[in-house]
Symmetry: C2
Subunit: 229 residues, 2 copies
């Protein structure tokens, strides 16, 4: 069932830069391409935008189909439209980035036999198309945004320790932070609720668990408050 237009049209795709975090560092979800071009290469999950779905819907669908993920933070990153991105024809891709919490969603390592796998962002394989450039853009955005928007919490389980939160910032910002200053700062922001639970099964003193309070954050923002770490 062919579709005909007066002028040539570019193909439109979505791709997703999916970040996760575990105790060995920041991770990125890639899938192994089953078909040409770049068959066998690792690539960002993504695919064609259908005529009846919006861009975010397309991104969510692709992630569900290719990786089984659902219910994650998803935000538009950038649109890449250079002429020779794809050797077959003109393809414009709208890229989203997602933040998922590896502890609750996927134990760790590869998800299943679907060809998806988590890679350390410091040690990525050769990638298809211009996906290396796209990932650089995603990393830059994450690094820039994490300091003034509370998106870091999306990479952690609902309840987390202050040390986990600190390691998150240290990993993303790629620099060490002072423990006492960090704790003072995040607690003073007033968007963390202290729970009455502590870690379990750790071979040392168990740390208190905290929770990010989204409602409180929204209230404070209305009053002109600025999140910043």
């Amino acid at each position: 069932m062919p579709y005909t237009y007066e002028y040539a049209r570019a193909a439109l795709t979505v791709d997703c830069v999916v970040f996760g975090l575990d105790d060995t560092g920041l991770k990125l979800l890639l899938i192994k391409r089953a078909i040409e071009p770049f068959q066998g290469c690792w690539a960002l999950p993504g695919g064609f935008v259908r005529i009846g779905e919006s861009l975010v819907e397309a991104a969510k669908r692709e992630l569900r189909e290719e990786t089984g993920l659902e219910g994650f933070f998803l935000e538009q990153l950038y649109t890449f439209g250079d002429l020779n991105r794809d050797p077959r024809e003109r393809v414009v891709t709208v890229v989203y980035y997602a933040l998922v919490n590896l502890r609750d969603h996927l134990p760790h390592g590869a998800s299943d036999a679907s060809g998806a796998a988590w890679f350390d962002v410091q040690d990525l394989p050769k990638l298809a198309f211009d996906h290396d450039k796209i990932i650089d853009t995603g990393l830059a955005r994450l690094k820039g945004k994490v300091r003034y928007q509370p998106i870091g919490f999306e990479l952690l389980p609902a309840k987390f320790t202050l040390s986990e939160l600190q390691r998150l910032y240290e990993t993303i910002l790629e620099r060490p932070l002072d423990k006492r200053n960090f704790r003072k700062k995040v607690v003073q922001l007033g968007v963390l609720d202290e729970t009455d639970e502590v870690q379990e099964d750790v071979a040392h003193r168990a740390a208190r668990l905290y929770r990010f309070n989204r409602k409180r954050y929204a209230q404070l923002v209305k009053r002109g408050f600025n999140f910043e770490i």
Copy 2:
């Protein structure tokens, strides 16, 4: 000469949110639509992306064709792809925003008979499509970015007074700034060169003219410096 594809394809356009600044406030460049849909409505300059041009090229071409502008700051803003943006068919638009210096480029008011005109952002007419939403996104970006990237200078002539710079920030951030503190701050940043010229034809003491030093800024950024106002 028709083009045929196996699946339906969305049309791809670029639109431009063009900001300018004069002494009455922040301005936006709009064009009056000559054809349906929304004939006679004001709209953002823009049009279809050709198969042989990149997205930025398309944005630059549309601005040249529709408004005569050249040589301005241009950066991708966001891509809008909801299903019913355009009543005719599925249209995905990649939006860029531009910053132009009204004093050097266009005297003021409308540019020519092309149907383009400058509007105060506080007092915009009814707009075609979802262009009001796009403009809100552009304003939010400008407001957010002007504080930590030296993009404000793009709205001023090459040589400007500190008072002009202050008015720029006050206009965009929509709040008054303290004159002495502002001057201390921007001078300490070390990216302004004091020229040995002063204003001419003003009915009071002439202010010294300054210039933004792009090279110096790039050097400082390499050394880890953060622009912030």
